[in-house]
């Protein structure tokens, strides 16, 4: 096909139906209400997304998914960003179910994936102990005991842990190298979930494990061998997070440009002033750069090319864009943008979560340069 930026027909179909669906189910009022609700996210929204087949786009057909390409999944994400969809698709489906797909035994996949796709089982990935997303940031301990393991530690910023049935927990097995993953019942004895009030209004939790027992069948993948697969799944998620930022950026740009066209000061629309034009193009440039890097990385995934470096560049740029786009749009708006009731502030708050989610700019820049300078690593 040789250099083309047009999605194919199936991708356009998914994107258009997503836009229509979210326009209907996620108007700004619904997004605001979800952030204030006690439930982690609106159950009917999740059920609707399951009905649309979106919880299993890349899940193999034998486990109830569509077995479609990564780009087929990708097209959802700009829309999720544009509409600030209050649903944990990225964490629960892409990361959570993605890890089961990547590492699970046939039994684990059989037991879990079909339920996830149907929207009946929710997985919360509990990966970070400190907010960092490198292998070295994982410190929760799993001690071998009675043929199984006992876990102790606290996981932070766990998305939708309150609604989750199952946790995927990254830990280090005492005395062994490497990272291991465990599937743990969210209601198991010793699991305590604490909601974290946060700038984004997302259902983020601290999950503390106090002598939580899990059988050997709770291990996901090899003991100490989970990191490569985990890293690959996190790369996919990072690309989608970048796509989400790019989609939100389209909307932030619309908000800023509309305001600049219509707000009259000193007798002219403020959008006629070059200072405001600079700010609006700042939004557009950051949005465009993020979209370029994200789309390229997504394409590499489907082509089976190495993508770690490109995923990191996309997420690094997305982190910067999340800050630059919202900042610049606020500068265009001045007073009104500072008001909670104005839509822009919804984007600003969530963008702050996106900035560091799945690794902040510095983390990904450091990873990208390492992969550039030492590609073998």
């Amino acid at each position: 096909m040789a250099i083309d930026f047009h999605f194919d027909e199936q991708q356009k179909l998914i994107r258009d139906s997503a836009r229509e669906f979210f326009r209907k189910h996620c108007p700004p009022a619904a997004v605001r209400a979800a952030a204030k609700a006690t439930e982690d996210f609106p159950a009917e929204l999740w059920a609707g997304m399951a009905d649309m087949g979106w919880l299993g786009i890349t899940v193999a057909e034998e486990f109830g998914g569509l077995g479609a390409s990564f780009l087929d999944l990708y097209v959802l994400y700009p829309e999720m960003g544009r509409f600030l969809v209050p649903a944990p698709h990225l964490d629960a489906v892409v990361v959570g179910a993605g890890l089961v797909s990547a590492l699970g035994s046939v039994e684990q996949k059989q037991a879990i994936l079909r339920e996830v796709v149907a929207g009946k089982l929710l997985i919360a990935p509990a990966l970070t102990d400190t907010g960092g997303f490198g292998a070295e940031d994982i410190t929760t301990e799993a001690r071998g005991a009675n043929g199984g393991y006992v876990l102790n530690g606290t996981k932070l910023l766990v998305m939708a842990a309150g609604a989750a049935n199952l946790l995927v927990v990254a830990a280090r097995i005492a005395g062994a190298e490497g990272v291991s993953l465990f599937l743990i019942d969210a209601a198991a004895p010793g699991v305590a979930r604490e909601k974290l009030p946060n700038i984004a209004g997302y259902p983020l939790y601290a999950v503390t494990f106090t002598d939580v027992s899990v059988g050997a069948e709770g291990l996901l993948g090899e003991a100490g061998g989970a990191w490569p697969a985990l890293e690959a799944v996190l790369d996919k998620a990072a690309v989608l997070q970048a796509a989400m930022v790019a989609g939100a950026g389209e909307r932030v740009l619309e908000i800023a440009v509309d305001y600049a066209k219509n707000r009259v000061q000193f007798g002219t629309p403020i959008g006629k002033h070059q200072a405001v034009q600079y700010l609006c193009t700042d939004v557009a440039v950051a949005q465009r750069h993020t979209a370029l890097l994200a789309l390229h990385a997504a394409w590499r995934i489907d082509r089976g090319l190495p993508v770690a470096r490109e995923a990191s560049l996309a997420k690094a740029m997305a982190a910067k864009a999340a800050a630059v786009m919202t900042f610049s749009a606020h500068e265009v708006h001045a007073g009104i943008g500072f008001m909670e009731d104005y839509d822009l502030s919804m984007y600003t708050r969530r963008a702050k979560h996106w900035e560091s989610h799945l690794g902040d700019r510095r983390h990904h820049l450091e990873r990208a340069i390492a992969l550039t300078l030492e590609p073998a690593a």
Partner: protein
Amino acid sequence: MIDFLPDDTPELRAWRAEVRAFLAEVVPGGMHFDYDFDESPEGWEKSLDFWRKVGAKGWIGLTWPKEYHGLGRSAIERWILWEEFANWPAPGFPVIGHAVSWFLLRHGSHEQKLRHLKGIADCTILWGEGYTEPSSGSDLASLTTRAHRDGDDWIINGQKTFGTAAHQCQWMAVFARTDPNARPHEGISCFLVPLDTPGIQMLPMHNMAGGQQNQTFFENVRVPHANLVGDVNQAWSQIWFHQGGQNLDQPGHAPDVMEYRMLRTLKEVFTFCRETKRGGKPLIEDPVVRLQLAELVEGMEIIKLQSFELHSTLVNGTAEGWNPLGGVFNQIHYREFWPHFAQVCMDIVGPLAQIEGGRWAQLQGRIEHYFRGSFGNHAGGTAQLKRMTAATRGLGLPR
């Protein structure tokens, strides 16, 4: 003679000690309170209690003429007072009473000064801001609130917006169009309006940092002619910010509690970096973080030195080589540096900075709150507007 030393006499050093002793007694340990971003009733109560005690000392009107409830003291004494308040910290002065006081001292009648400066000096009357309108922000000349003469009174109709903490105030300085036929900036007057006058209604708006701003509606609001400040239709040229700097009517610039909040925030981040390990090493030893911190120190240092320069300009005139519109350049730096500063602090604190409270929050979520507040950097005119003012009035580029 070049000097950066405010207290170079024993008298001034004694004065600083007196201020410090007062603070130690009245707000031991200091008190963080930004009325812009805080609606807690206790915060307001304690802050007002503090400022009434300051008022009782006569220090609110420190440099005002004695006949108008002031103490007639010098600009450098005022610098020292505010520097101590900012350093301590004392809570920020509630709403815009200080701005109103400079305006009244310059343009008010003898009777108005006598009457209204008293409540400001005591901190018994709080004044709200009455110029911004929904479609008239920095462009005062476009305001649409109207006032027409009716016998000995004026009748005001219209709407003001973004009135920070106006619901806490008893009075408002309201700018209204009194000559609809005049050119936009030539038909505006200023009225002193008690906010319990019939016809005034207030609706709250909430900003991203948790402060309350307000929309104030005026429907046939009647104020006596005696409440007109200065001459009719002359408010545009009188207004205190018309020179591009809010401080130009003051006897000499002084440090600001809000700006010093940045310095305190930086010190908190220092502490955080000393106490936090990342990748097994204290953050304070991370070369990237150290450079980030150094650039924040640099920006802060400039803010502090800008205050010195502005003070010198207002007291001693513009020194050669310094732009007479220095105040506007200060405002550019502050408005551009503040959000940058907040962003970098968030970056340094890391992903957990997004947590607002509870035991997993870093520094009790103060950095996050500070970050949200930084989107209020437009107050008093955007950075873009200040840039244009600096370019045209400061550098002489064509408009």
